[in-house]
Symmetry: C2
Subunit: 247 residues, 2 copies
DNA sequence: CGTCTAATTGAAGCATCTCAACATGCGTGG
DNA sequence: CCACGCATGTTGAGATGCTTCAATTAGACG
């Protein structure tokens, strides 16, 4: 299994590692991914990568940083619908859905690689295994949406927050993003509120509760899990919906 | 455009009509769909089509009736995450996601056609256009999840109910399900509550408000839209997220 | 050191929930 | 055809989770 991957650009291997989670790829498949044309672009925090209404001709891979998927309501309020970690392709759907029905924004500094739709289409037609892997990525996105719906419809603020921290931890682990025993948490309380369908004030109070209960330590853009068991139980977290690779 | 479609079974043409919404199909594509093996099965109201944890080897097309997608929480409460109308394939995702992370249940009497995974995979490998159409279906599902998230996170009960009725109307129109100026509404108030993340009692009261406002008439399994404009405005409904075929 | 954003606190209000009772309609068996 | 049973719908009353508004504090940064 030792591949001479050094010839791959690091951004190609980010994507490759992700896609290999979905099933075995042939040497041809790997070569095809490694030779995908990628346009690199950096974004500052709060900058939009893609806007609602756009008709993208490329899809992006997040290489570094955290991105959110969001919609703005008529009165200006916002709902964040997903948090996206390195390795993910948040607008892969634009390959088959002409027009964006929501926007993508950087929550931290973000490094992204853009791949032309045409190249991806060619890839998919040429390799059922890669078609499967990419399609699967969009399906896992859907599974996460469903889990968030359950949270917003039926869970208390406390449980939702706990659940989100569990999910983030798992995603960061998968993306191999960690600083010692801490994870980056590039979200203000206001952004957490938008992601959970709550008000800032309430997020603040519930966060304090979680701290008091010794479950997490949240400060200055960092998240530290103190009691995973407590968190997972409070949030009724089970990772099945993330459809993780067996590893 | 007049095709000799009479040779198709009616259930095949249900699926075909749906897939043609995503883009032009060749005569070969149509033939391939029409010759898909389908196992017909009927379900009574409240019967499950697929259960969380299952590892399906077939996907179903809903031919008649309404189905819901749901999860059960630890304490027995339920969250309904989607309502599915004829022509849709609610477990198409099982083609790429081994294990069901939620269940599907019939809300009314339901007629469904089951297609083996293998046949669908062959179809996709053989025709990029059909691959596109099917993938697209799963992406639209995702778009609807996102819209529901916005509702549960940021909209009042009144708006959510209005929005749901708008969505249902559009989906029924697309599936050509209508009785005069009424639509079937095979949902109890308790099921509406589970779909909107509310309590039964509150749904009951808000429903009365919608009636008093002359927006809808809801009774005995029937929905009648009295004031579409009022409904759409109350629910901030814009159908873009449904990614309807142009026409 | 002033400025700006993010975090925190208090207090009051309201949307929604829970509990509990009662009404209505409907299918079924006698 | 009636009587019963059960699911569904409706109502009232009280509790609460969460929101809004408004003010204050704490950090980060040039």
């Amino acid at each position: 299994m030792i591949q001479p991957q050094l010839r791959h650009e690091p951004h190609h291997s980010r994507l490759l590692a992700r896609l290999e989670g979905a099933g075995r790829l042939s040497e041809n498949d790997r070569r095809a991914v490694a030779s995908l044309p990628m346009r690199l672009q950096d974004f500052a925090a709060n900058e939009d990568l893609v806007l609602q209404g756009d008709r993208p001709t490329e899809c992006c891979v997040i290489l570094d940083g955290v991105v959110c998927r969001y919609k703005i309501l008529g009165d200006g309020r916002r709902q964040i619908m997903a948090l996206i970690t390195p390795g993910e392709m948040p607008d892969l759907q634009s390959l088959h859905l002409e027009r964006m029905d929501h926007s993508l924004a950087a929550l931290s500094r973000v490094k992204a690689a853009f791949i032309p739709h045409q190249s991806l289409s060619d890839l998919i037609v040429g390799s059922p295994a890669l078609g499967h892997a990419l399609w699967r990525e969009t399906l896992v996105d859907g599974a996460v949406f469903r889990e968030w719906m359950v949270g917003m419809g039926r869970r208390t603020a406390y449980a939702r927050l706990a659940h989100l921290f569990c999910e983030l931890t798992v995603k960061f682990e998968r993306a191999q993003v960690r600083r010692g025993d801490r994870y980056p948490l590039p979200l203000t309380q206001s952004e957490l509120a938008d992601a959970l369908g709550l008000s800032v004030v309430h997020v603040n109070r519930v966060l304090q509760q979680l701290r008091r209960d010794g479950a997490v330590q949240v400060r200055a853009g960092e998240l530290r899990i103190l009691d995973w068991g407590k968190l997972a139980e409070a949030g009724e977290f089970t990772p099945d919906y993330l459809h993780l690779p067996p590893r």
